[in-house]
Amino acid sequence: MSALLIAVPLLIAFLFVPLKNKIKYILPFVALFSLILILKLPIEQVNFLGGWKAPFGITLVLDNSSYYSLIVVNIIFFLLSLIPQIIEKDLSLIFLILMASINGLILTGDLFNSFVFLEITSVAAYILSSSKRNYYGAFKYLILGSIAGAFYLLGTLYSYIGTGSLNLADISKNINSEFLAVVPILIFIGLAVETKIFPLAGWVPDVYASGSALTPAILATGVTFSMMYLFGRIFITVFHGEFLNVVYIFGLITVVVAELSALKQDNLLRALSFSSIAQAGLFLSVISMNSYESLTAGYFHLLNDITAKFVLFIIAASIGKSFIKNKTTGIAFSIASFSLIGFPLFAGFRSKLLILKTAFLNQNYILPIILLFATIIEIAYVLRWNIKLWYPDNILPQEKEKTQKLSWNVNLILLIVALVIIVIGFYPDIYLKIAQNIASGLTNYRAYVTNVLGGM
């Protein structure tokens, strides 16, 4: 059943190639379909494609973590499909392909398969990022992404040599120190580009700040989330937390470096993309503490971050120089930015508390310091942008005329998401439950192995 999640979007994408212009209106139905499908699926189900048992066949694993990740990602796709204004007409196909590949990426239980889905995702992302005539940025992304892909492939191969298997569960069972010396490095480099780790995230600002609303709204939320899921799946479940100390350091460096870079930006989208990099770095260093609590905190934070970024990026890309004509949009933007910097009452505050708590629990005092320092810088530029947009100085009347009102459906969806941020600020249980489930699925590798390979 879970294979349908991959097959249906792909199939529709290919079926509708002749009807490129109409496909826009089918997107919500596809997204809704996969969402309902996921909700109907039973957890702890392993789908052996073609009937080949693991470790020989290709498996699609639907455990706690992949189940909830799928829900998150598909909700994002659903929400985005409801805003057809921001989807350029040629990109609807890509949207479907991206959906299929991301579903696959999350579901797959096979390392080489994940490589394939990773590449498809990347290709879709390259095409998405070339929107708004941002070809050079997309090309840079392509170069980085392909090199990273090559390394990921190398890592896959090395793990095949080391363990004799490509099945994640099987690798997890058979890991040995010799193999662990090389493979994590290769996989890490392969994933570092997509998880936006310094210094391999050079593509991010160029791509996110192309001016298109869809590109960052999907890359910084859905794609990032799935990449982070994959990262957790490979490094936590498969490698049992090996190599995470290096990730931790890289994550922290990423946080500081990205926040510093963001400070200087005079383009809101660029500033936000650096913030996105920083949050990714923070997430990676949090999950690097490799405990159930830290993973919960990390994914909880990631959820808050992508919720906020969803609102921020769409508004930043579609709004003009001020909120004068779009007050409701402005309110959503402010709520999201307050959540981003973790003011109380908003969702971001909960994740900040959770991260601090976890870090202290692990006797880790560096991470809180870096987190708080980074937040101070983030406050500086995020609030500066808020003030700039709310209290614009010397707006010319004709510019005021030119700024268009966003249409009702955009505003509605943004407001709903902003409302979610506030609700999560008071009752974080919904997000917390998702994060806890993902965390328990990732940390409990024994259950994962038995689940996939059968009771061995």
Partner: protein, 614 residues
Amino acid sequence: MIPISYLVLVFLFGSVVSYLITKANRIVGAIFNFLLTFYALFVLWNLEIGHTEKLFSILEGVENTFKVSSLGKYFSIISLIVISLVSFFIIEWIRKKPSRPAAFNAFVLIMSAGIIGVFFSNDLLTLYIFWEIAVLGSFLIVPMGKEDSKKAAVIYVVTSAIGSYMYLFATFSIYNKYGILEFDQVSRFLLNEPSNLFKWFIILFIASAGIAKSGIFPLHTWLRITHGNAPDAFSAILSGQLVKMGSYVLAISLSVFPSTKLLASFYSGVPLLNYILIWLGNISIIIGTFMAIRQNDMKQLIAYSSVANGGYILVGLGVMNSIGYAGGLFHVFNHAIAAAMIFLSFAAVVYRTGTTKIDEMGGLIWKMPWTFVTYLVGIISLAGIPPTSGFISKWMIFNALLTKGMFVTLTITFIGSVGSFLYVFRPLAGVFLGQLKKKHYEVKEVSPVMLIPMLVLTLLTLFIGVYPKPVLDFIVSIENSLGIKPIEYSGTIIKTSLGQWDTLTVFTMFAVGFIIALVLYIIFPRGKKVELTDQYTGGEYLFNYDLYHYATGFYRFLERLYDKHPSFEKLYGMLVSFFKSMGEIINELFYKVSPSGYVFWISIVILILFWVRW
């Protein structure tokens, strides 16, 4: 009895209501705000000490609660007095001033909700949450001011965040170590804590939130730009109330965690930690005083004076003996009232003239006498001259320092005190006295709606100056609840080990002296009233009376002595531009490069990784 949590909720929802009402009619919205804050003052006044309310629980093992303590009640009543009176002032002021009245009114209420929460929080986390709500509400108001105010708002929030994040760090250290966050439990655990370092760290980091908020050195730079550029009436709340939130946290970090019992004495009963904090207070007094003397912008001048007065409060609290602590607390009241008076009178002046530069005004006393009276009594209280209440607290602080033999600190408090005569006189001479400018011939006194709160504050500070019992009662109950020996007083006589004084006698004597002078004045022949422009000019003919007003560079001869002073504002500016250029370098090196650059960095990372692994 209405629970505090309902009050907070009423304020939060009231902000929405206020927004809608103000959209319809701004004056009605302002009246709504005033009624709500005044009602809150009434509710808080009737609260019983020890009343506890459960709120929520964010971290397991910690029940977030409100609890009415004497300290919190004292601070909250001061705050609400200031806020409600300023709200009354706003009823008239809002007709002309803020660019977004609806948002202004809503944010004032959000801020007030935060403030009430802060003062009744029973644990560190609740305090933090409401603290940030208050910051959020107030920071959104600041950019409605002058053109620099947008920058000011960011500086304000960042400075505040530096302090509050240090606080948060300490909070989580406590939580991690003891698993509790309630104030009294924390202090109990701290008393049994063997590690001196940990105690130092906790108290310093908790205090740093207060340091940032009350504008203590080295985080004092935000006061000038924020107070100076915020909307005029809001500056009164900023300086009169929000800064006092910082003093509250300082009071908590020094007294609720009993610093004198926790740490060994360093110099006549004062631990080294307190001594360091006292020194921070000293530096603030010096900086605040001497920088205030230099300012030509009246709001920035009083902003620097807030730095100095924050220093006074910290010095008083830091001494932590009966009289010093009482002095610090009393000074909280005095400075709150005095700063509110002064900023309100400035707001009235700006409302009429539209400028804050001292040398662009002059002689406004002839047009706005009641505003002048408010300012006069305000500065008398600020400078600590009897018979206003400002003197009582200064006297207590001097006494405390003298009994402890802290002569250097004493010197600095004297400098601050005498220096305050200098800087408060500058706007007095430049704005209200001297020659009236031609462009201000048409200026009128502000309406009674604006005058009433100003005069109420004036009467309040005079009343407390003569009859300080209400405030002293509060201070005694606070000191009792914290286990500090309460100050002694009977009626209007305040006693210390160094002697006593009677506020009433001093006032009576002043009145008698004034009457004697008045009698002399009346019995001798009347003088002839001449125009202000009719002056002794050494025989010269004057053609431009605008120039005949000494206001620019009022203390130039003194300023010259420290023109080349080191500036922390510049230092922080340099730090920020350093961060920015670091960001620029990183951006150029890593994020803006061509594909060659990416491949280069990938290779470097691979080499590093393999080198580290093998």
